[in-house]
């Protein structure tokens, strides 16, 4: 892989951010709104509930981590959509650029923007609502890594779907995190779900993260074996997503989809 070609994909996106505040604002604005909304909800729940249960880490922490996954996925897909919107595939893929380099560039920019968003979320949640993950220390890293890999896998999968089905299908991609969230047990233990939903949950790496986090913030031992399953699953999904994108790319090269990519031409 060529660092220069990967750098070109990253640089293209940085140029877009530099010249367009409207692209930078959503990286922080939606995150801030989510944190404020859920922060006040958890504060209210702490006031009216006399159970002694602290809702701040349970709910606000969950929102923060779920937003992190969503931002990673969107960071990858947004960079890809820039090429969809500017109909740039022919220009890029008629060059020495490899698909692995293109995807690496998308992932790098997705990682950068989501880490900036995470930093803003953590700062706001700590300053406004006293939420801190510092008590978890280095143990937080594996949780974030599983979400991180899952977000990248979802982003690459989404890019593959849009490459195959055309720009209009981007509306299938945006709701993916929302569709997955009931199964991922973001706000509740997956044991409250019906049996068939629990089966789906067990196939989703984030469900292991949120189950583990709930135990962690409750002061119980973190189930590392369960988190390891989530980690293995997230790596498997990432590999599958890359293979899926590569297969779609080969299809696009075979059928001429890359050369005539537009909403009208894609069936």
């Amino acid at each position: 892989m060529s660092p220069s070609r990967i750098g070109a994909i990253v640089m293209r996106q940085l140029y877009l951010y530099r010249g367009s505040p409207q692209r930078i604002l959503p990286m922080f604005a939606w995150v801030a709104i989510d944190i404020l909304l859920w922060g006040f909800i958890t504060r209210y729940l702490n006031q009216v509930s006399h159970s002694g249960f602290n809702f701040v880490p349970a709910l606000l922490g969950a929102v923060l981590l779920w937003d992190f996954l969503t931002r990673i996925m969107q960071g990858v897909t947004m960079a890809f959509f820039e090429d969809v919107w500017s109909r740039n595939f022919l220009n890029f893929f008629a060059t020495p650029l490899r698909t692995s380099e293109y995807l690496s560039g998308l992932v790098l920019i997705g990682v950068t923007t989501s880490l900036l968003g995470l930093a803003a979320m953590l700062a706001l949640a700590w300053a406004a609502f006293g939420l801190s993950f510092l008590s978890l220390g280095a143990a937080l890293a594996p949780f974030l890594m599983v979400l991180f890999l899952t977000g990248i896998a979802l982003g690459i999968f989404g890019a593959g779907v849009v490459l195959r089905l055309g720009p209009a299908s981007e509306w299938l991609i945006w709701p993916i995190p929302t569709v997955l969230s009931p199964f991922a047990g973001v706000f509740y233990p997956i044991t409250v779900l019906p049996a068939w939903m629990q089966l789906v949950s067990k196939a989703l790496p984030p469900s292991y993260v949120f189950e583990g986090m709930r135990r962690g913030v409750a002061g119980k031992p973190i189930p590392w074996d369960q988190l390891a399953i989530g980690g293995v699953l997230s790596v498997a999904y990432l590999l599958l997503a890359c293979a899926f994108f590569a297969a779609i790319y080969r299809y696009a090269i075979r059928t001429g989809l890359i050369a005539r990519y537009s909403a009208e031409s894609v069936a």
Binding site: R12, A94, T95, G256
Partner: protein, 259 residues
């Protein structure tokens, strides 16, 4: 005298879309310092052929070699010394002229990129648009930018699909001269499609007439005109396109009527 190795070698190239044979057994070479015109009516298979040479469309069969490198097995290496400009592939309008050239220069790992960009901005009269977004340039200026991008890696093989469409005659003449000079100096080979027969006659050393995916005629554009008793290349184009249309062997069978 030793034979010069071709920059582009296309052998028995075929591309089918279902029952439609868009390109059917096309073969040709482009030598260093040669500009080859690929002519034909709309739908003849010119752009399909160019897309296959650019690696964005897989041939059904056949072989493409760029400087002796097989495109199918060593795509990245083969395309390192190739570039293209086409009217239907404008550069991202939300990047400035300089940013576009920087991104594509990085993709081709161009050495001394800053200097190369300055050189191209001067050559294509784009210096005053350095910080202008490509999307707000006139169509002629966008074409010049596409050509500057096509030159960024000093390609050995240049594919130009109607490169001077939407450019005024004066600028088109300058651009033809610039490309011809580049070809003469750098031993680059060019495959050039155009519907402007005056332009083809002015710049091409050799032309190929394509119709329904097959090469019907090829040779020196001036000699072909004489040999076929045509008044001009324009007339020869019309004549060949008309004959191909009425040649039963080239016309696909009529569709079977529904029962």
């Amino acid at each position: 005298m030793t034979a010069v190795a071709p920059i582009l070698s296309v052998q028995n190239l075929c591309k089918s879309f279902g029952a439609l044979k868009a390109v059917d057994g096309v073969g040709f070479d482009v030598a260093p310092g040669e500009i080859v015109g690929l002519l034909g009516p709309n739908g003849a298979g010119k752009t399909t052929t160019i897309n296959m040479i650019l690696g964005v469309l897989a041939p059904t069969s056949g072989r493409i070699e760029i400087e002796g490198v097989d495109l199918k097995t060593q795509r990245t290496r083969a395309l390192q010394s190739t570039n293209f400009a086409a009217v239907y592939a404008p550069l991202p309008g939300n990047l400035t002229v300089e940013q576009n050239l920087t991104v594509f220069g990085m993709i081709y790992s161009v050495k001394n990129l800053r200097a190369r960009i300055d050189e191209l901005l001067a050559d294509f009269d784009l210096a005053r648009f350095r910080r202008t977004k490509a999307g707000v340039l006139s169509s002629g200026e966008q074409t010049r930018l596409s050509l500057a991008k096509a030159m960024i890696n000093r390609p050995r093989l240049l594919l130009l699909d109607e490169p001077t469409a939407s450019i005024d005659p004066s600028t088109a003449r300058d651009i033809r001269a610039a490309i011809s000079a580049y070809v003469d100096a750098g031993h680059c080979g060019v495959l050039w499609t155009s519907h402007n027969m005056y332009e083809v006659e002015a710049v091409c050393d050799r032309v190929m007439f394509l119709s329904r995916g097959k090469v019907l005629l090829q040779g020196d554009p001036r000699q072909l005109t004489k040999d076929h008793g045509a008044a001009s290349l324009d007339d020869l184009f019309v004549q060949v396109a008309h004959e191909a249309l009425h040649d039963a062997s080239l016309v696909p069978p009529p569709p079977v009527a529904a029962p």
